[in-house]
C-alpha cells in the first residue's frame, strides 16, 4: 500500500514532463503549420552526387 505514496508522485511528475514538452512545442510554433510540416519531410535537401 505504501507503494502508491511514491508511485503516484512519480506518475504525476512524468505526466507533467509530457505536458511541459507539449507547452514548449506549442509556444515555439510547431503546431502553426501542420500541412507544411507534413510536406516538408518530402523535400529532399541533398544534392545528387
Amino acid at each position: 500500500m505504501s507503494g502508491i505514496l511514491f508511485l503516484i508522485p512519480i506518475a504525476l511528475f512524468m505526466g507533467l514532463l509530457g505536458l511541459g514538452a507539449f507547452i514548449w512545442a506549442v509556444r515555439s510554433g510547431q503546431f502553426d503549420d501542420p500541412i507544411g510540416s507534413a510536406n516538408r519531410i518530402l523535400i529532399d535537401e541533398d544534392e545528387p552526387l
Binding site: L12, V26, D32, D33, N39, R40
Partner: protein, 738 residues
Amino acid sequence: MSSADVLAHTRDWSLGDAADQDSPFGGLSAFVQKSGKSQHLELHVSGAKCAGCLAKIEKSVGALDGVSEARLNLSTGKFNVTWQGPLPASDIAETVSGLGYGVSAAAETDADEVQRKEERELLLAMGVAAFAAANIMLLSVSVWAGAGEMGSNTKQIMHAISGVIALPAVAFSGRPFFRSAWSVLKRGRANMDVPISLAIILAFTVSVVETIRGGEHAYFDAAAMLIFFLLIGRFLEARVRRRACSAANDLAGMSSRAVTRIDCDGNAIKVNPGVVAPGDTILLAQGERAVVDMALNDEFCELDESLVTGESAPHLLSKGMRIYAGAVNLSGPVQAKALSRASDSLLADIGRMLDAGEQRRSAYRKIADKAVALYVPFVHSAAALTFIGWMLAGAGFRESILIAVSTLIITCPCALALAAPVAHVVAAGKLFQLGIFLKSGDALERFASVDRIVLDKTGTLSLGVPQLSDATDERTISDAALLARSSRHPLSRAISDAAGSGPVASNVQEIPGCGLEATIDGVLWRLGSGRWIGVDSGDTHTRNLYLQRGDETPVALEFADRLIPGTEDAIRQLEKAGYETEILSGDTNERVSEVARELGVSRYTSAASPRDKAAHLEVLREQGHKVLMVGDGLNDAGALSLAHASVTPGTAIDISQAASDAVYSGGITSLPVLLKLARRTRSVMLENFTFAALYNLVAIPIAVTGHATPLVAALAMSFSSVAVSLNAIRLAAFSEGK
C-alpha cells in the same frame, strides 16, 4: 480572366517604365518592416499546395541576394522573408509570381492576430485538460476498481489528489467557456457555453465539498474529461475558421495604387487616389488600371473591362464614354476626366456590398445554434426539477444537490458540441482532396439548403480568354501570326497560340486601339479592327480582327470564348439533382444566349452590371430562393457576398475568393460533388444531433433516479462523444459516384 493573367498583362505593358512605382508590386515597399540592418516582409502566396511548391518557392527566394530566411506556411499561405541589403521588395514578389503563384502583400490585421492567439490558447488549454483528465482517470479507476476493499481514508486521499490536479485544469482550460458564457449572460441571453460552464463549476464545487466531508463520490474526472472533449470540438472549429481572410482588406490594397493627375499647368504628378476630385484630369498609362470612374477626353481608347463587367473581349471607347474603376487600359496613354471620388467609385460600391454580405452571413443561424436553443432550457429545468423532487421526497439537501448536479454533468452537451465540428472537419478534408477549399464550416449547411444556382459566364462557364474560332483557315492563321507574334494584345496572343511557334515579321508597328502593320516582301500587311482596316463591323466590341495583305480583300478572323471542358456535363448533373440553374452575366445578350443554348440553360440575364447582379440576387431572395452564386470577377464580388452561399474558381481574383464560401480548382465539374457532400454532411450532423437527443432521453432518467455515479457519467460521456465522432468520420468514405 485570372488575377495572375491580369498581373502578367500589367507587367508586360509597363516593361518600358523603369520607375518602381509602375511595377505591379511597386507598392510592396510600404509593407516592409525594418529592424536594424535586416528587413522583413510578409506576403500572401496562393496556389502553393505541395512539398514541391514549398521547396521551389523557398529555394528561389532564398537564392536572392541577401535573403537570410524564407519560410512559407502551407496552412495559411503566409510567406515570411527576412533579408539584408539593397534587394527591393518587388523582386521577391516577382520571383514568386514568376514561378506561377499568386502573390500579394499580407498586412497582418488585428483579426488575424486574434485568431492566431485564440487557436494557440485553445491548443494549450486542450493539452492541460488532457493531462488532467488522464491523470485523474488513473486515480479514479483505482477508486472504482477498489470499491468495497479500499479504505475510506485512502479513497479520500485519492479524491484530494484528483482535486489538486483538477483545480488548475478547470481554472486554466475552462476559461474559453467561462468567458463566452459570461459575455452572453451579461446581455441576458444564453448559448451552449452557459450549461457547460455551470456543469463544470458545479461538478468541481460539489466534488470539493464531498471530498472534505469524506463522501462516496467525487466528479473531478467528469469535470476534466468534459473540458477535454469540448475543447477538441472548439479547436477543430477554430482551425477551419482561421484561413478565411478579410475581403475588405484585399479591396483596399487594390485601390491604393497611385494615380497620375495632370495639373492645370500641364504637369503630371503622382497622387494618392483619395485626393482625386471630380473634374480632375487623369493620365491613364498603357496597362494601368483605373481606380476612379472617369470620362474619356481622348478620341479612342481600348479597355480590358473583364474585371468589371465580365466581358471577355476588349472594349473600344470613344470620346466622352465612361471608364469604370477596375478597367485596364490596353491602348496608348490616354487622358480622362474623373467623374467621382475614389470612395464613390464602383470599387468602393463593391466594398460596401462585401461588408453588407459579411454582416448578413454572421447573422445566419446554424443548426447547432438551434439545437442549443432547445437543449438549454430543457436540461436546466430537468436538473432543477430533480433537485426539488428529491427534496420533497425527503432526501435531504446534500443528496438532492448531488443528484441534480450529476444530472447536469451527464447531460452536458459533449456530443452536441462535437456533432457539428467533427463533421465539418472531415467534410472539409474530403473536399480538399477533391480540389475544393472550404472557407468556413457553417458554409456546408448553407450549401446543403441551396435550390437555385446562379452562374457567371466569363471565367466560370467559359475560359474567359478569347480563342480563335475553328472556322479560320490555316493560311490566314499562319499569315496573321507573322504580325501577331510581336504583340501582347489578348487577340494577338490568341492568334499566336493557335499558330504555334514560327517566324515574326520585322518592323511590326503597333498602333494602339487599331492594330498591327508591317511591310512584308514590299507589300503592306495590316491586322486590326474593322474600323481601321476599312471594313465597317458596326460593333464597338472588337470581337473580330481583319487581315489585309496588300490590296487583297480583307479576311476576317473570328474569336470565340470557349466553354471550360466538362461544363455541359456538370450542368446536366445539377439539373438532374433538382437544382434550378441560371446564367447571370455582364456580357452581351448575343454571347450569353449562345452559351445558354449550348448548355441547355433556359434562364439567363445578360448585360448585368455589378449592381444589377446584386439586385437580382435580392429579388431571388425575396422570392424565397436559396441561391448559390458561382462567379469569379470583381463584378461578381458583391453578388457572391450577398448570396445564400457562394463558390468561386481558383483562377478568380483575390477579392472574389475572399467574398465566397469555397474555392474550387478546375471547372464547375466539382460543383455537383460539393453540393452532394454538403447534403451528406448535413444529414450526418442531423443524425448526430438526433443521437445526442436520444442519449439524453436515456441518460436523464438514470441521473434523475440517482444512479449517475462518476463511473456511469464517465462511460456515458465518452461513449456519446466517440459515437458522434465515428459517425462523422463515415463522411471520409464519401466517393463521387455515390
